[in-house]
Point group: C2
Chain length 351, copies 2
Amino acid sequence: DRGVSVKFHQHLRYNPLRDSWVLVSAHRMKRPWAGQVEKPPEEHIPRHDPCNPLCPGNTRANGEVNPDYDSTFVFGNDFPALQPDAPDPGSNQHPLFQSKAARGVCKVMCFHPWSDITLPLMKKEEVVKVIDKWTELVEELGATYPWVQIFENKGAMMGCSNPHPHCQVWASNFLPNEPALSDRCQRAYYQKHGEPLLLQYAKQEAERKERVVVESSDWLAVVPYWATWPYQTLLLPRRHILRISDLRAEEREGLADIMKRLLTKYDNLFEVSFPYSMGWHGAPTGPYLKEDNSHWQLHAHYYPPLLRSASVKKFMVGYEMLAQEQRDLTPEQAAEKLRNLPEEHYKTREN
Amino acid sequence: DRGVSVKFHQHLRYNPLRDSWVLVSAHRMKRPWAGQVEKPPEEHIPRHDPCNPLCPGNTRANGEVNPDYDSTFVFGNDFPALQPDAPDPGSNQHPLFQSKAARGVCKVMCFHPWSDITLPLMKKEEVVKVIDKWTELVEELGATYPWVQIFENKGAMMGCSNPHPHCQVWASNFLPNEPALSDRCQRAYYQKHGEPLLLQYAKQEAERKERVVVESSDWLAVVPYWATWPYQTLLLPRRHILRISDLRAEEREGLADIMKRLLTKYDNLFEVSFPYSMGWHGAPTGPYLKEDNSHWQLHAHYYPPLLRSASVKKFMVGYEMLAQEQRDLTPEQAAEKLRNLPEEHYKTREN
Ligand SMILES: O=P(O)(O)O[C@H]1O[C@H](CO)[C@@H](O)[C@H](O)[C@H]1O
Ligand SMILES: O=P(O)(O)O[C@H]1O[C@H](CO)[C@@H](O)[C@H](O)[C@H]1O
């Protein structure tokens, strides 16, 4: 059988959301590793640290005092990459020296008042509160901004500089590269096949099963066929949904549940608080609210860097930066590993 | 003056080689850093380590014994991501599950018999030997393969697992994503403007001066207008040259010289052996040798991760992975810093 033999040899796979290819070299996991090992994440984080600017009641860099919040808490990033006012560089530019104004806002959102908790260990109702707040922010900022990027950098390995559970929301007056590319790809697919790309994809994966990690009546998490990061996943609704703000109450509950299940498996893989960057992509907002966005389907990408253990990550370096992304195990191998892990968190099992 | 005020506010810049945008937020360097700090690179590497598979005379993983080489040394990667034979997945695939055969070879090339030396500290004649060998490999592998990617991962931070000075050469039966994109962009520019993009760019930068790091009669190294990594540089010939194998003898000497100067500045920036991934892009080879590639111009990209010090790097994470690349200082600020550094290496100054 050709399909089977291909899996054990290097081959290319097509990413229809980015119109690009990934090199899959399953046999590379055999190579010994003598390179950099990462410090495992800190395990003993105090529940409340009087010096942590994200904790309830503490004072931030700009002198503002956080309220004594007991659920989520949103505030403006004290060092924003995007600000609402910025001069326009003007037109009449050389084609090789083109610039444009960038305007926007950057918010930080704490998930919980405690520093020593993470999403998989939070109560389902508490995760629902996080989703409700995401919805609110997308509605509020999306009223005018064309793109609202919700993202979470989890773990020091992913550039996160504060252990308190939080995410960020950056809204911009432009459609950034990645969503612009995804928009083009989803639109072209829709025009050709008459159905949203990711809706068809979810149906296929639910039938094929080999890349499914967790599923429920409303949601599906798979290691996508074109995954580049070792344990990358794609979280998809089964119904056609344009934006996070279009989720029904029971779909938000289902989302809290599947997020907890997925993230518990992630933590269980190497028995460590699993680092990742994640984020939501949905139909653009602001001026795009008036346009037809039927080609879009809401989804979340999880990009975790660990490859072999809690301390050995995948390096996306020379070949990946200059030529093409390359992975060292197949998406099916990764999905099988994650699927077979228990759904009880290793930390609650210990007690 | 608009041009000046833009520099101190966030704005977008266009990358004409990738048809994408980068978010430049100059003011972000002010933010304090409480995140991950990297272990500085090891400073005491033995000149010859009997256990290092890259040293002369040692035995490698596959049992082969390295010759007692005294210049460069090339061998087949013992754990290649690309092998010459791999089954063809066949056609008739679902549009969301497309794969292709990937075939090729992966070679490793040692720069020098000593483990405790790096390119900036090697003699100019020794660096010329490295360039000569690159030329040979591009000619040999490029005779049949459409793409020959020369790249160097330097430093543990960039996934390099062996301190011995070396690079890799991966040749493939396909044009990888990055060169395919660069090919499209250079072709479109050439068709519109009648001159190769990077030839026009080098002329502009030589006149504008503010992003130049080092230059000579044949070569130019700049922090490109659209740089994403903090101290990223682009190394360009001034003459129209398609491939590294088209360099004249004196241009290879000039290249050795400018590489030494650029890499010395890199090391001097934080007084540390500067980590980076670098690689060469030139016109495609194999079947493309028969086609018109006038739109191409040979160039090397240097992508170094360090941002603030020898131990604090830039993290390309959540926003960068999911939305758009973002930088924390302007390319002009970076170029000025590098330009003003001495051209004598801090290690030879000490003695
Ligand atoms: O081939 P090496 O040096 O073992 O591996 C290094 O370079 C490769 C090509 O960029 C990457 O895929 C690996 O993640 C990295 O560790
Ligand atoms: O905003 P933070 O958490 O300080 O910073 C982190 O996320 C940003 C957005 O992905 C990145 O640009 C930074 O490199 C990273 O350290």
